[in-house]
Symmetry: D2
Subunit: 151 residues, 4 copies
């Protein structure tokens, strides 16, 4: 599960592009996400808010339901960018949603809004590279609903 | 806000086709939805469930976030079909989500799984035609968050 | 399924009181709800928001999970009040959540923030009396998951 | 932020007791949670499911909205137990919801259904002690919505 430097740059660019379609009149907080499928497609998502705040769907989940409902279910990486300079991490809801379809070692690229392709790790403008397993340790997943039960 | 008989048949066919991509290992209940945009595009969605049941996203919302995150925000109709013979109606979450983007008079086509293009209203296999306003009366929407407040 | 005038006033007063506990730093929109159980208890709820907007839980759902998790599952009425003068209706998510436990004829009292106990129907300060069935027509409920399926 | 051995046993017992009120006809998976407030109260929650799976509210969130809507907003610990023998961890939605009100160092006790008060760490029947920060690293929280924005 590795991506090439070219794919990485394309994925980051797609996350920025995805952000333009955010519908966030309530939070005024735009988020863009881009998923890379194992067969090389890039699927973009943005946050779509709702007057009933609880109905809001984040950028990461938007990208995932787009992909899955089009028949794509295996992924190599996801990149996320918001409007703030520092790298912002997926909310817990999205971590759980990603968990349904992705391996724990899948890379998640947290991209700062002031991203610079030449920044080194830890520098201003640098991407924070994490994995799903790092963001959702001791995770609950589909397999737990199959476990033997009893008092 | 009217659709031609041809668009209607295409929309219904798209809802059936969308249903094939449902990810519903928990409910075993597949749902497909198809949105018609005002510029004539058809956008398909299916229900995508989650091991944490609360994370589940229905077919109607999947179709809407796909459309909106691709820049399409105005719609003429939506059709919904599930695995049961009788017409099934959107859940309240989806009604609220549709409310964010659609007019109250927008047609919602509730399609039975045993749909027949030649069935007349009320017959076996016939579509139940409703509107968003009929499904969500006295609705709460974006405009209510802008109202003057005070004790 | 009827409530006495005394219960009605108590329920409305409880909804106002419940509103004080709202946690709504994002919307700045406070909502209070009060449920009347069939055995005469009043259970209060307020909206509890979340930085990830999608995690937000409304006042009506808060009241319901409080009741159900304490073993109370049958209800006679619910009253809802917000910060705006006009009566505000439950969002679709809450209508669906109420549907899980309540009969379609259950009264839902939509209370304006400028409520006056002496206002007549339709007057300034008057309560809008509706039922669950009126707010969620053609509803989808627990029984639909039990229906026979097939193409 | 420490709890006494007595409080710990009371909290675990409350989580088991809370589980009895689960409403989980769809997953058949019961979960109980018990919150300890900083002023020594124990608040119980159970999972309350919904025919529209997405409406489901987990035990942990039920406990939190009960507490907060009753005016209790600071907590010392939470314990969670399900029907499966091994310790089950909160879903991502609940981690995010806990994050809204609790410090990252708050203890979360993951209690196996075959819990034994005398089991040692790692033994059959032993509790898995984690913290919120361990379950939700690089977390997104209320403070991020206040950050300066711009490209
Ligand atoms: Zn999210
Ligand atoms: Zn729905
Ligand atoms: Zn609501
Ligand atoms: Zn949960």
């Amino acid at each position: 599960m590795s991506i090439t430097p070219e794919q990485r740059e394309q994925l980051i660019a797609a996350a920025f592009s995805a952000r333009d379609a955010a519908y966030s009149p309530y939070s005024k907080f735009r988020v863009g996400a881009a998923l890379l499928s194992t067969d090389g497609k890039i699927i973009k998502g943005a946050n779509i808010e709702n007057a009933s705040y609880g109905g809001t769907i984040c950028a990461e989940r938007t990208a995932l339901v787009k992909a899955v409902s089009d028949g794509t279910k295996t992924f190599s990486a996801i990149a996320v960018v918001s409007d703030v300079a520092s790298a912002i991490s997926p909310c817990g809801i999205c971590r759980q949603f990603i968990r349904e379809f992705c391996k724990l070692e899948m890379p998640i690229l947290l991209v700062p809004a002031d991203y610079s392709a030449t920044a080194k790790t830890g520098e201003k403008g640098s991407v924070l590279d994490v994995t799903l397993g790092e963001l959702l340790p001791h995770s609950f997943g589909p397999e737990h609903l199959e476990m033997p039960r009893g008092e």
